[in-house]
């Protein structure tokens, strides 16, 4: 139970740090809102619901790269060393992943609300399924990006590497998410989406398992 205690404490630390500065959440929120406005102004004539759906996921992809990559890239070498002394690598990875999932969940919820508010015609008929897709989206984005941002931060070459390394890995997930969300937009019955949901679960479990196996090697310098 040592691990659970450490994880709980570390998540508390992350939330507290974020609550004090409110930098990431406000920054990414402003990023999402301004991107949505830019897209709206650029694509006014775009009437297709499916294109709006794809656009939503692309906006969320970039927002989450900016939001999640902060988790390791922004820590100084001293901070990393300090937490290395205090906690086990598994606890650090799990706590960061859970914290990022929560952060992305909040962001996605707000972004989705704003999106449906601005694009009145977009509102998917099956909002519950769309929200399930959003939950899976925030989960998969944070599991993949947490590990990749750890790799990029150790390579010491921030933002550019982060994008290069994470895009090929996230594309399969993104394709599944867009397909799942498309089912919601089309208002298909849930039976049609079980394949995608199962696949997303499998991919997430795979990513978490490999990250847990590999992170201790990465963490140790």
């Amino acid at each position: 139970m040592q691990l659970a205690k450490e994880v709980k404490y570390l998540i508390h630390k992350e939330v507290l740090l974020e609550w004090r500065s409110k930098y990431t959440i406000n920054g990414v929120l402003l990023y999402v809102v301004s991107t949505i406005f830019t897209c709206y102004l650029s694509f006014v004539s775009l009437g297709d619901k499916l294109a709006w759906n794809a656009l939503f996921w692309i906006i969320m992809l970039f927002a989450s790269i900016n939001g999640v990559s902060k988790s390791f890239l922004q820590e100084t070498k001293g901070q990393q060393l300090y937490s290395y002394i205090l906690a086990s690598p598994a606890a650090i990875l799990i706590s960061k992943t859970i914290y990022n999932t929560l952060l992305m969940l909040v962001l996605t919820t707000i972004a989705l609300g704003f999106y449906t508010l601005v694009f009145d015609s977009f509102t998917p008929p099956d909002m519950v399924l769309y929200y399930v897709a959003a939950i899976f989206g925030s989960m998969s984005f944070s599991t993949v990006f947490t590990m990749v941002s750890a790799i990029a931060s150790k390579a010491g070459n921030g933002g550019m590497l982060m994008a290069i390394l994470s895009f090929p890995i996230i594309i399969p997930v993104l394709i599944l998410l867009i397909k799942l969300a498309k089912n919601a937009v089309d208002g298909l019955p849930w039976e049609n989406s079980y394949d995608e949901i199962a696949m997303l679960l499998v991919v997430n479990v795979l990513v978490i398992a490999t990250s847990l196996l590999l992170f201790p090697y990465l963490w140790r310098d």
Binding site: M147, V148, I151, K154, A155, G156, N157, L161, I164, L165, F167, P168, I169, I171, P172, I175, L176, K179, D195, E196, M199, V202, V203, L206, V207, T210, S211, L213, L214, Y217, L218
Partner: protein, 249 residues
């Protein structure tokens, strides 16, 4: 001669499949017609690529625990060789697609996912270039390689099944299973796979040797050169004898 028998085997098999693949009879299926012969040239490329990438993951895992420079070099050279085969697979597929689907690149899910999985390995090579320190580079790139491998498996083997593709073997298009009945094709296809996998392995061993010689030549100090040279020579001999053992078994 003892050590080169598999290289001779590889050459003989590839030459045989190139000749027999173009001359022997094939079943006449709708749409595919004579382009079915591409099976002998296109599919073995992917098999060779998968084998080379698996070798690379094996050495990445090994280099994480052994921290040896040689294992890291083996990992990166097998990725280099694997990428060659992946690109050849894309090209042979695109040429085939031009004559059956009408376009070199029609954004078929199989084409897209294969291209993305090759992007993964380009990202791996760029990650290597981004890090200067050798030990660190070996460690971080090995981690990324292992992390990316399951994703490549998902991309190549799982996702295309969820999508509608025109690729043979998907969505009711005539595929490999229907040729399985035809022993004429099996006579060429299996040797082709084995032959190209062996050629891929051969390319990888040559690239590894070139790389290790370059490393020896670039090492500035004479004494160190000696020890590094020794370690490479012994490592190589070991790997060759291991290979022979495995193949004799």
């Amino acid at each position: 001669m003892k050590k080169t028998w598999w290289k001779i085997l590889a050459s003989v098999l590839v030459v045989y499949t190139a000749i027999a693949g173009l001359l022997l009879g094939v079943p006449h299926l709708a749409i595919l017609n004579e382009t079915i012969r591409n099976l002998y040239f296109h599919v073995p490329m992917w098999f060779a690529m998968i084998v080379l990438f698996s070798i690379s993951v094996f050495y990445s895992v090994k280099s994480l625990s052994s921290k040896s420079e040689i294992d890291d070099m083996k990992a990166v050279e097998s990725v280099n060789a694997g990428i060659i085969f992946g690109v050849l697979g894309l090209i042979t597929g695109a040429i085939w697609a031009k004559y059956t689907w009408g376009q070199f690149w029609s954004f078929d899910p199989k084409q897209n996912f294969a291209a993305i999985s090759i992007l993964l390995y380009f990202a791996y090579l760029i990650l290597r270039n981004a890090i200067d320190e050798e030990q660190k580079r070996a460690k971080i790139s090995a981690i990324y390689n292992i992390f990316a491998f399951p994703m490549m498996v998902v991309l190549l083997f799982v996702l295309p099944r969820l999508k509608d593709s025109l690729h043979p073997g998907n969505g009711g298009n005539p595929g490999f299973n229907s040729y399985d009945l035809d022993s004429r094709m099996r006579m060429v296809f299996y040797p082709a796979c084995l032959g190209w996998i062996l050629v891929g392995y051969w390319v990888y061993t040559i690239r590894f040797r070139i790389r290790s010689i370059e490393t020896i030549m670039n090492t500035p100090y004479q004494n160190e050169t000696k020890s590094v040279q020794d370690s490479f020579v012994t490592a190589e001999n070991q790997s060759i004898t291991n290979e022979n053992k495995q193949q004799h078994n």
